[in-house]
């Protein structure tokens, strides 16, 4: 842990760090690849929609009958509809009959109860009309749309439109990946999945927003200095919030893992399982995208600004000058991609301070740098 803390400290100071922005093209590429895979998977395999979307009935009951017996009963009771029987823990069977109207399901329930020799009232039943899932999904889409508009507006006001745009892209990226995983693995899509998916919205952005917040702070007076480019500051923001990002993701995933374990292991199929599965995939994607996609995108967009272009040139010129000077003096201090190290050298004078010591150089009688 002490090592972790140390890494945290060094990440924070920028002594170590991964060049997220510099290698963004690689990560963009990976993301595009994953997204394409997800879309292809979705197009080719489609989603395995649960009975909530097709209409049908699910009966769950404790019974001594074996799965094959139950299958037999279910098929005869279903009368032509497709029946899927699943043995759950604790001696229960789950019988799912798809394509059935809510009105037709009642006699089936009675027949099944008779076959399985249990009272009707001990049969857990879920009857779903064929349009119900669609309705949930439609409402979810509506919610998604409204949420996206609101969040983009909010981020555009609280931060700026570039961040809003990047956050939106990251969000869509997360959702696509999650849906893609569902298509590829063939998990069943239920209203629980929809709930999980919608929760990802909040979570994915939550993560992104924290990085953006640090970035906004770090880049406040950026144009007034000429030591760092926007991209470098952005990279440091990611690195300095990396520990937090990892911690957050771990802490968020742990309860979900608990849900997944209990949902999958103890209860068999069910809502807990569906929600946590979607969450698990989505959270992982969300953590990834806020670091590797959202912030680099902001950096990309921001670098196109004339001010930032000018800044980048000033920084370049200055570094070239410094390099020349240092080279002429004697040895090293690699000017290029390690601005943080250079800055550390300067920090001997006073306490080093986050973020990126933008304007420190100005107010100080240092003179060492020039």
């Amino acid at each position: 842990m002490s090592k972790l803390g140390n890494i945290g400290a060094r990440l924070y100071r920028g002594e170590v760090g991964y060049d997220f922005i510099g290698k963004r093209k690689i990560w963009y590429g990976i993301s595009i690849l994953i997204t394409i895979t997800a879309i292809v998977g979705l197009a080719v395999r489609g989603l395995n929609m649960g009975i909530e979307f097709s209409g049908g009935a699910v009966f769950t009951a404790k019974t001594s009958a074996s799965a094959s017996q139950a299958q037999h009963y279910a098929e005869s009771a279903a009368g032509g509809h497709q029946a899927v029987v699943q043995k759950l823990g604790g001696g229960s069977v789950r019988i799912q009959i798809s394509g059935m109207d809510t009105k037709q399901a009642l006699p089936v329930q009675e027949e099944l109860a008779k076959d399985l020799k249990i009272p009707v009232k001990d049969v857990n039943t879920q009857l779903v009309g064929p349009s119900w899932g669609e309705e949930i999904a439609n409402k979810a889409w509506l919610g998604l749309g409204i949420f996206m508009v609101l969040v983009v507006l909010y981020l555009a006001i609280a931060f700026e439109w570039r961040m809003a745009l990047a956050a939106l892209i990251a969000l869509i990226h997360d959702l696509t990946i999650t849906v893609g995983v569902y298509a590829l693995v063939g998990f069943e899509v239920t209203p629980g999945t929809v709930i999980g998916l919608l929760t990802i919205l909040g979570y994915s952005l939550y993560d992104t927003v924290v990085v953006f917040d640090s970035l906004k702070e770090a880049s406040k007076d950026l144009t007034k200095q000429n030591r760092f480019t926007y991209s470098e500051v952005a990279n440091r923001s990611i690195n300095s919030t990396l520990v937090r990002s990892i911690n957050t993701t771990v802490v968020a995933l742990l309860p979900v893992a608990g849900l997944l374990f209990v949902g999958g292991g103890v209860l068999g199929a069910g809502m807990l399982n569906d929600i946590s599965l979607a969450l698990f995939v989505g959270l992982a994607a969300g953590a990834y995208s806020s670091i590797f996609i959202a912030t680099p995108l902001v950096a990309d967009l921001k670098s196109r600004e004339p001010q930032m272009k000018a800044l980048a040139q000033r920084v370049k010129a200055k570094r070239a000058a410094a390099a020349a000077k240092e080279a002429s003096q004697e040895d090293t201090e690699d000017p290029g991609p390690a601005p943080a190290d250079a800055e550390d050298g300067a920090a001997v004078v006073g306490p080093r301070h986050q973020p990126a010591s933008r304007n420190r150089g100005r107010g100080r009688p240092s003179g060492k740098r020039r």
């Binding site: 842990m1 803390g5 140390n6 945290g8 400290a9 924070y12 909530e52 769950t60 809510t102 009105k103 009232k121 049969v123 857990n124 039943t125 879920q126 009857l127 009309g129 349009s131 119900w132 309705e135 949930i136 979810a140 509506l142 919610g143 949420f147 969040v151 909010y154 209203p191 919608l198 909040g202 979570y203 939550y206 927003v209 924290v210 702070e217 520990v243 937090r244 911690n247 957050t248 802490v251 968020a252 742990l254 309860p255 893992a257 608990g258 849900l259 374990f261 209990v262 103890v266 209860l267 069910g270 809502m271 807990l272 929600i275 946590s276 306490p351 080093r352 301070h353 986050q354 973020p355």
Partner: protein, 594 residues
């Protein structure tokens, strides 16, 4: 720009951490006290955790009434359903509208789901339509013997018709018969109705002269100006089997009120061609079954109309009374099936009417219920029906609790491993958060009818992560400040404004998601969104009024302030610059950057 902010903030947040803490504790004690006071110690459990049946009904658009699905109508419908379900003797059934066009009906365990479904799902739309013609219920009408039972049944109403006007309330001169006689076989019942209906009209001029029952109106009375299309429909209509009746009923229920329809008697004994709706079911303000001991009529159903409905009813009955049988009957049509088809002898004024004849207590009460509660302004279809046995409910609750415990334990282990002493703060905060969430959920049960369901449990578990994250944000900030060479106390204060902003921004996004979900979605998603929103708000409150003051207080303790290696704030472990560099003067300069 940041410097003045700091000045403003410092006294507020640093000044009296104890007081703020006390405030939170008092609030907590108040909530817990409220819990004891209200006597509810556990949150109300939803159907999926406690067992029971839950229906989700969707209002359906009807032809001719494009704007029928509105708030008023939905509320009316929900109110009617609630009365109806509770009329079953179900305790604690709840009916609520959700979104624009859904009604959720939750019926706790111990109720016959089938009966409830019938009450909730099938009885939807009621109307009074004049009968244009009637015939036996089968496709090819065949004459049947006149059973003695039917005759008896038929006679009764006729006799009553004689005695009635004198005895009944001024306005209730309406004589009618109904087929409600549970032990009668469908055919005999049908006969009975027809007989009675035949009788009643003949009794019209002088109610005391019942006509002898004749064979039922097969074939349909000629001379009535029935359009050939309808006649054809009538001939094709098959009321014999339950299935075909359901189909016919659906078709009839879905036709416009202003169109004539063909419909079956609900027991399949008769079929009718009915004119446009004369009086809507919503015009009945009340109907109840009454035992008429004075006149020996047995069970009768009394109806009260709204003032508007009374006028319409008087108008309709006035017209009907002038017609020849069977066109002097009106059909009480419920969901496309004729429940009863009494005949009319006089215009019925005064806003109320009685239906008499051959009722048992049960059948009279049923009809009364249907008349008074059956007047839903909308028709509904069942979208989702979930029945959970108490056993499974308990199991699911159990599983949810285990999942929560596991999740919480994992988070605690992680926090302790990573933050050591600081984890205590996090744990205390999580606990406060948990207590607040629990008490509020419990108190929301009786106040707004909040019920904890499985998705809500799920939301609460997911919220552990969100809540813990706020602490992480703050702790990381404090650590960053320490890494910058500050001692704990300034670090705690200086890290706060920045952590606070991050927490607010990210919690706002999370809350926004929850709020949008809550407003837009239906059913289970709503429960989830509600919990998520609630916990997000509580998270902000806890971090502001508990975690921060607690941190301020702990920062004064030597264990934390001196950076004990188990405090999680050891400057050396955190890789802080040696304190040498911690110049006093440095701090103000840097505030500008914050």
């Amino acid at each position: 720009m940041a410097a003045p902010k700091k000045g403003r903030r410092a006294p507020a947040s640093q000044g009296h951490p104890g007081r703020t803490l006390l405030l939170v504790l008092i609030a907590m004690a108040g909530l817990i006290g409220g819990m004891f006071y209200s006597g509810t110690m556990t949150p109300r459990l939803g159907i999926d955790l406690a067992g029971g049946t839950s229906f989700t009904l969707a209002a359906q658009n009807q032809p001719g009434k494009p704007n029928a699905i509105n708030e008023t109508n939905m509320k009316t419908a929900a109110g009617i359903m609630e009365r109806r379900v509770n009329g079953l003797g179900v305790s604690e059934a709840e009916v609520q509208t959700q979104g624009t066009d859904h009604i959720i009906v939750n019926i706790p365990k111990g109720t016959d789901a089938k009966q409830a479904r019938q009450q909730v799902g099938t009885t939807a739309k009621l109307g009074f339509r004049p009968v244009l013609t009637t015939t036996a219920g089968t496709k090819t009408p065949e004459p049947k013997p006149n059973p003695s039972k039917g005759g008896a049944n038929g006679k009764a109403p006729g006799d009553k018709a004689a005695g009635d006007p004198a005895k009944d309330k001024p306005g209730t001169e309406q004589k009618a018969s109904s087929s409600q006689s549970p032990d009668a076989k469908p055919t005999t019942q049908g006969r009975a109705v027809t007989d009675a209906l035949k009788k009643a009209p003949s009794a019209k001029p002088t109610p005391s002269a019942p006509a002898k029952p004749t064979t039922p109106a097969v074939p349909p009375t000629p001379g009535a100006d029935i359009p050939p299309a309808l006649q054809k429909q009538l001939n094709a209509l098959d009321c014999a089997s339950k299935q075909s009746r359901a189909t016919a009923g659906e078709k009839a229920a879905n036709s416009k009120p202003s169109d004539p329809i063909v419909a079956c008697k609900d027991d399949g004994t008769q079929k009718y061609v009915l004119g446009p709706v004369g009086v809507e079911g919503t015009d009945v303000s009340d109907a109840k079954a009454v035992f008429d001991s004075q006149q020996g009529q047995g069970w009768i159903v009394q109806m009260d109309f709204t003032s508007n409905g009374g006028k319409k009813f008087a108008d309709v009955t006035g017209k009907l009374a002038a017609k020849a049988p069977p066109q002097n009957q009106f059909g009480i049509v419920l969901d496309g099936a004729v429940v009863s088809a009494p005949s009319v002898s006089n215009a019925i004024n005064g806003g109320n009417a009685t239906i008499s004849g051959g009722f048992t207590q049960q059948s009279a009460e049923d009809l009364g219920n249907m008349l008074s509660y059956g007047s839903l302004p909308l028709s509904f279809k069942i979208d989702d029906e979930t029945t959970v046995t108490a056993a499974l409910g308990g199991e699911q609750l159990h599983a949810g609790l285990i999942a929560g415990a596991i999740g919480l334990a994992l988070v605690v282990i992680y926090l302790v491993a990573y933050y050591r002493g600081l984890a205590l703060v996090a744990l205390a905060s999580l606990m406060v958060s948990a207590i607040l969430t629990y008490t509020i959920m419990t108190l929301l049960g009786p106040t707004i009818g909040f019920a904890l369901n499985l998705p809500a449990v799920c939301g609460a578990i997911v919220a552990i992560g969100i809540t813990a994250d706020s602490f992480i944000v703050y702790f990381e900030r404090i650590r960053d400040e320490i890494r910058d060479g500050r001692t704990l106390r300034p670090a705690v204060e200086r890290g706060w404004p920045r952590a606070r902003r991050t927490i607010l921004v990210s919690d706002f996004v999370s809350f926004l998601a929850a709020a949008v979900l809550f407003i837009v979605t239906v059913g289970k998603v709503k429960g989830f969104a509600f919990t998520l929103g609630l916990t997000t708000v509580l998270d902000v409150i806890v971090v502001f009024y508990f975690t921060k003051p607690l941190m301020t207080m702990l920062a004064r303790r030597a264990f934390f302030a001196d950076g004990h290696s188990w405090s999680g704030l050891d400057p050396k472990r955190l890789g802080a610059k040696p304190p040498l560099r911690r110049r006093r003067g440095a701090a103000p300069t840097q505030t500008k950057e914050a």
